[in-house]
């Protein structure tokens, strides 16, 4: 579904990603771990198409299409969803209206009928329940005044409503309390299916206890320095990133 090949990318003239190869098939969940500043969010933004994030070498194919040629909104309609590490507050824009518009443009793009207000509310309530969220939260302006945990939950809620093909979750587990983590993990697991792929960026093993990844990649200084099975996350948790120094030599994709 997603082919990242020898990806090099620059942000504001600075080379951040220095050759990344990842291949994710439908139904798979991959985790990316790595120290602060290693380029995880940069990769997520490149996938989502953020302005100023320039691919200088290599390519990214999503279902065979070159992502570089698609605007962010096109990528979204094609089924790429990014849960932001720092969801943006947008005063004055009602969460409910915004998400309804987002869902309907996507449905229209996919040749599905648009939902009216009542149908949308029904769907939204179902997903809110899945994430244990209060309806009041999405009646407010997008992310405005949300606590850190509420923002993260709300990202997963949006994902549940929009039902993407590829979900990129950037540190969705950070800032969640233990109960919230379980709820969010359960939400993510509910969305796991053979047609959907996920790329989960995280610093901690604890999310991966609930959402078991098929593969784990370790990113350091813009490169994948290790790839492996779910045990790799455990090993990292145990030894820390220091273990990479000795592992650098046998870096694999």
């Amino acid at each position: 579904m997603l082919e990242i090949k020898n990806l090099h990318a620059r942000v504001d003239g600075q080379q951040i990603l220095q050759g990344i190869d990842i291949s994710i098939k439908a139904g798979e969940v991959h985790a990316i771990m790595g120290p602060n500043g290693s380029g995880k969010s940069t990769l997520a933004f490149v996938l989502a198409g953020r302005e100023g994030y320039e691919i200088t070498q290599g390519e990214v194919l999503f279902e065979g299409r070159n992502l570089a040629e698609m605007k962010p909104e096109e990528r979204a309609r094609e089924g790429i969803f990014l849960a932001f590490q720092y969801p943006v507050e947008i005063p004055g824009v009602s969460g409910m209206n915004f998400l309804k518009s987002a869902l309907n443009v996507t449905r229209k793009y996919r040749g599905l009928s648009e939902l009216d207000a009542i149908e949308f509310l029904k769907l939204a309530r179902e997903k809110l329940k899945l994430l244990g969220m209060d309806e009041k939260l999405i009646q407010r302006a997008v992310n405005v005044g949300f606590s850190g945990g509420e923002k993260k939950r709300s990202e997963v809620f949006q994902m549940a409503v929009l039902e993407p093909k590829l979900a990129v979750l950037d540190e969705t587990d950070s800032g969640l309390d233990i109960d919230a983590l379980k709820i969010v993990a359960n939400g993510i697991n509910t969305l796991r299916n053979p047609d959907r792929a996920m790329l989960i960026i995280t610093h901690y093993q604890r999310l991966l206890n609930y959402v078991i990844p098929d593969k784990v990649h370790v990113l350091a200084e813009g490169r994948i320095v290790r790839s492996g099975g779910k045990e790799l996350a455990l090993e990292l948790e145990d030894k820390g990133y220091a273990m990479l120094d000795s592992a650098d030599a046998n870096a694999a994709a």
């Binding site: 909104e73 932001f84 947008i90 209206n97 915004f98 309804k100 309907n104 648009e114 302006a141």
Partner: protein, 447 residues
């Protein structure tokens, strides 16, 4: 007086031609008033950039043209042009003015509580001119006094809303001024009077619009007199034609305990200026001036306010938000004067601007003149672009760039529109904001 070379001169000649046809021509006080006014206009001349309050607004595009008297010939364009300004189902008392003259056939005033009069200036000058006389000819300190004088000389019609002591008017008064003239630039000089006696209350909504692409000039003066404890809500929509000039001067005289809330939305015209001068003449007055201006292409939009706290314990709040696109130029000049007597004044002013293009321009100038020591006064002004992170966030959810921009622009002004108390006016203004946006936002149109 040698006035041949000045841009004001043609209006002196025009005045000589039309004065015998103006309403109230048999009233000697009015004749004198008009004569004095035209002389005053000629001696003052059009405001120039040398006047501090006109520093950023050049009237040269206006003074280059000589605007003749508006033709009163019906051309059937009014009915169609009127439609979008109407308030829909909600009850209101409506006076429609086409090319500066009252059109009873398009107007509708419902049954009114005792002590409330809603009529046209021309009719009032016929029926009860003695009621009007005391309200004209007072000393005028407004920044646009030359244009007030011109208005006084030529005023032919307008609305008179009179509220007797304690009268409470439920439904809003809707005044619609429509320009439909064809064949040459024409000027209208509407004059509105809102006279609220002690303890009375009403909401008044002025709408200005034009049909077609003709150049015309609306030079309107609105006088508001709020007696003790009167409460006036005063709304205005300026959506003039693309080639129009719109100069509006509102003078509000506010007595003790009264409240005056103004909301002005400017979006039309080639060059427009909305000037409000509020005088807090009594103690404990509550004065709120708010507004939104939406400018694009090569529009010039000037908002100029002056709040004068003359007596103690007054509160003034002022928030204007502007969205400026294309090569448009907006001006905000907000002056607050606190007189020596006006202790315990609490005044706050804020001007926020969203610049949508590199060539969009805002000149914002707060001015505080404080002569009392025990006061709270503050002001703030800023200008910024659309939040690129928010734009990206919305796009990652599938919204097209234009749509995302529209949502953010709408959100920027929404809080202002939401603050409009009168529901019928609020929803009308929302509709006009939506029509201005690049695409219909918030899914109403698409879903």
């Amino acid at each position: 007086m040698t006035t041949e070379q000045t841009p004001g001169a043609p209006y002196l000649a025009q005045f000589a031609q039309v004065k015998a046809k103006l309403p109230g021509r048999r009233l000697s006080w009015l004749k004198d008033l008009r004569q004095g006014a035209i002389e005053r206009f000629v001696s003052l001349g059009f405001p120039t950039l040398k006047i501090e309050e006109w520093k950023y607004t050049s009237l040269s595009p206006l003074t280059k043209t000589v605007f003749g008297p508006a033709s009163q010939e019906a051309n059937g364009r009014a009915e169609e042009g009127l439609r979008r300004f109407l308030l829909g189902e909600q009850p209101c008392h409506r006076l429609v003015f086409v090319n500066g003259r009252h059109r009873p056939d398009l107007s509708h005033v419902g049954s009114l509580p005792a002590g409330v009069t809603i009529t046209s200036l021309a009719a009032m000058l016929e029926a009860e001119p003695e009621l009007l006389e005391p309200h004209f000819g007072g000393e005028d300190q407004s920044d646009g006094q030359a244009l007030v004088a011109l208005n006084t000389a030529f005023m032919a019609d307008g609305a008179v809303v009179k509220l007797a002591q304690g009268a409470a008017l439920e439904a809003p008064v809707h005044l619609i001024f429509l320009a439909t003239t064809q064949g040459g630039p024409a000027a209208h000089h509407p004059r509105n009077l809102i006279l609220a006696e002690p303890g009375s209350s009403a909401a008044i909504f002025e709408s200005y619009g034009g049909v077609g692409t003709e150049s015309y000039w609306t030079n309107v003066v609105t006088q508001v007199k709020a007696g003790r404890n009167a409460a006036i809500r005063h709304y205005k929509l300026q959506c003039e034609g693309a080639e129009a000039f719109h100069i509006a001067i509102t003078q509000a005289d506010l007595e003790s305990g009264s409240s005056y809330t103004s909301f002005v939305m400017s979006m039309g015209g080639r060059l427009s200026r909305n000037e409000i001068a509020a005088r807090l003449n009594g103690t404990g007055v509550d004065c709120r001036l708010n507004g939104v201006y939406l400018a694009r292409d090569r529009q010039h939009m000037d908002t100029s306010t002056r709040i004068e706290h003359a007596k103690p314990g007054g509160l003034s709040r002022e928030v204007y938000k502007g969205v400026i696109d294309g090569e448009a130029h907006a001006v905000f000049h907000g002056k607050i004067v606190v007189c020596p007597d006006a202790q315990k004044t609490d005044a706050h002013q804020l001007n926020e601007n969203l610049l949508l293009s590199e060539r969009a321009r805002i000149d914002t100038k707060p001015e505080l003149e404080i002569h009392a020591d025990d006061v709270k006064c503050s002001h703030g002004a800023n200008a910024g672009e659309l939040d690129s992170e928010a734009l990206f966030y919305l796009r990652t959810r599938g919204l097209e760039e234009e749509r995302a921009r529209s949502l953010l622009i709408e959100a920027f002004v929404a809080e202002m529109i939401d603050g409009v108390e009168t529901e019928a006016v609020r929803s009308n203004l929302r509709k006009f904001v939506s029509s201005w946006l690049p695409t219909v936002a918030n899914g109403k149109g698409a879903a």
